[in-house]
């Protein structure tokens, strides 16, 4: 049934299954594509997931259920309420706990035979190669570009497969980047987008169920690579459109000019990925563009004295969730609606957390408004410090 070489390390000893394990994996064992041989390979396998979040959560749970012997997790984040709509490995009682602790507990409950190796640290160019070295397969469940390039490069340098998944709102992508047999992530995307061009889940939102679908696709690919069955997504980009419920596939080719896996390699060690993704430059530019701020306490005081007006630059659907009664002009419409604002009155501009309103204040100042201030922390800070009856979202 094997169609490819199983991507697990060689072992000296034979892996055995206990009677309890045999009972547990019965539905695997009765399939010729898995059978006892295959289940032993799963037990032998060592899989590392970068991130125990939206993608890592379903992935780790299903790999644990399948009997992957060692699951490594790299995550130094803490469970937040807003994670719970999609990161199903964590529950309500885990809010405030380190994600690693919560993930370990869930995995050990699903399958006590799984050994969890925890790396409660940020993945960096200094530690990636050492962390990855002893694992067979790396699964990329991260949520930012610098880490994706880091994971890719480390996998190429170590000759390991990188099971890739990414999501945005209602769409997902999945592939297996394995430079020994096909393209790597850099072959597909030689350069990252400039910071700020592609919103994060916190800014753009994400359908909670979506990472579930992609995470399980990643788990499926991982199991196939371990067992050496089926056709993996090497050289193929799977595109998932949840709203249309359509799957499409694009051919991926190895880029002969790829600097890390191509014919004339120029990258032989890990680099500074934040710099590669333009983040220090973006931070510096932001600092240059810093706008006058007002804290929510100062705003409350001025409002009570009738000294200031407020403008909300969020979207109507956000206004419906929570608002402080300020007039609403969404940021995108602001340039055309400046006439609605009184230039002579001091104005405090707010959004959800202070980022969009900062851009609005810059826009207004460029248009000649002098007394405009960015509400630091946005409506979230208002809810936390002034009026807890205003929902935080």
């Amino acid at each position: 049934m094997q169609t490819r070489k199983p991507l697990i390390h060689e072992t000296d000893g034979q892996v055995e299954l206990t009677n309890e394990e045999i009972a547990r994996y019965s539905r695997h064992l009765i399939m010729p594509e898995v059978a006892l041989e295959g289940q032993k390979k799963l037990k032998q396998a060592r899989v590392l997931t970068i991130g125990a979040g939206g993608l890592g959560a379903p992935l780790a749970m299903y790999l644990a259920a399948a009997g992957v012997g060692t699951i490594g997790i790299v995550d130094f984040d803490v469970v937040d309420e807003s994670n719970l709509h999609r990161q199903i490995i964590h529950g309500t009682s885990d809010v405030g706990r380190p994600k690693l602790e919560s993930a370990r507990e869930t995995i050990e409950d699903i399958n006590p035979n799984v050994r969890v190796e925890a790396f409660e640290e940020q993945l960096t160019s200094e530690n990636a190669l050492d962390i990855f070295r002893d694992f067979d397969i790396i699964v990329d469940g991260t949520d930012n570009f610098p880490t994706r390039y880091l994971v890719n490069d480390a996998c190429v340098l170590l000759g390991k497969p990188n099971v890739y998944g990414s999501i945005f709102r209602f769409e997902g992508q999945a592939s297996v980047f394995y430079a020994e047999e096909g393209p790597c992530y850099r072959c597909l995307y030689p350069e990252p987008p400039p910071p700020g061009l592609v919103p994060s889940c916190a800014e753009g939102g994400v359908l909670g169920i979506l990472p579930g679908a992609i995470g399980v696709i990643q788990a499926t690919e991982t199991v196939k690579l371990i067992l050496g069955i089926g056709e993996p997504l090497i050289g193929r980009l799977l595109l998932y459109d949840a709203l249309g419920m359509r799957f499409r596939e694009m051919k991926l080719r190895k880029n002969p000019q790829c600097p890390i896996c191509g014919e004339n390699r120029t990258i032989h060690e890990l680099i500074d990925y934040e710099e590669f993704c333009g983040i220090p430059q973006a931070r510096a530019a932001e600092e240059e563009n810093e706008v006058p701020e007002i804290t929510v306490q100062e705003l409350k005081e001025k409002l009570d004295r009738g000294e200031i007006s407020v403008l909300d630059v969020r979207e109507p659907h956000e206004y419906a969730v929570a608002n402080i009664g300020a007039p609403l002009i969404p940021l995108g419409e602001l340039p055309e609606r400046l006439a609605e604002l009184d230039r002579n009155r001091p104005l405090a501009v707010h959004c959800k957390s202070g980022a969009r309103s900062a851009r609005a204040v810059k826009l207004l100042r460029d248009a000649g408004f002098e007394n405009v201030y960015n509400v630091k922390g946005g409506i979230n800070a208002w809810s936390e410090e002034i009026d807890p009856s205003v929902p935080k979202y």
């Binding site: 930012n144 570009f145 990414s166 709102r169 995307y189 987008p193 592609v198 919103p199 994060s200 051919k251």
Partner: protein, 96 residues
């Protein structure tokens, strides 16, 4: 006329459309017309000097035009171009 599929992150700049029918005999022409019709899309597709951005991949059917004839890739009536951008979540300025 060939169709261009617009990915979710770029739909807001293309009038909210998931698919746009556009004229053009080559991929380059079709994308150029797209950027003309939706000027906000231009900065997401092209660099300052008019080159297609490298984190935006364009496919004719299921083949990357980079491995066909690039912007000169011929596009016929029934062809479908897809814009496949880089998505990663990408926390603005934050890394984890």
């Amino acid at each position: 006329m060939p169709k261009v599929k617009i990915p979710t992150p770029l739909r807001q700049y293309a009038g909210g459309n998931a698919e746009v029918t556009i004229t053009g005999k080559t991929a380059g022409e079709a994308l150029g017309k797209l950027a003309e019709e939706y000027p906000e899309l231009r900065q997401h597709l092209y660099t300052g000097d008019g080159k297609l951005r490298s984190f935006v991949n364009v496919y004719k059917g299921d083949e990357d035009i980079r491995y066909l004839d690039g912007p000169e890739t011929a596009v016929s009536e029934d062809d479908e171009l897809s814009i496949i951008p880089s998505i990663a979540g990408g926390c603005r300025g934050e890394t984890r």
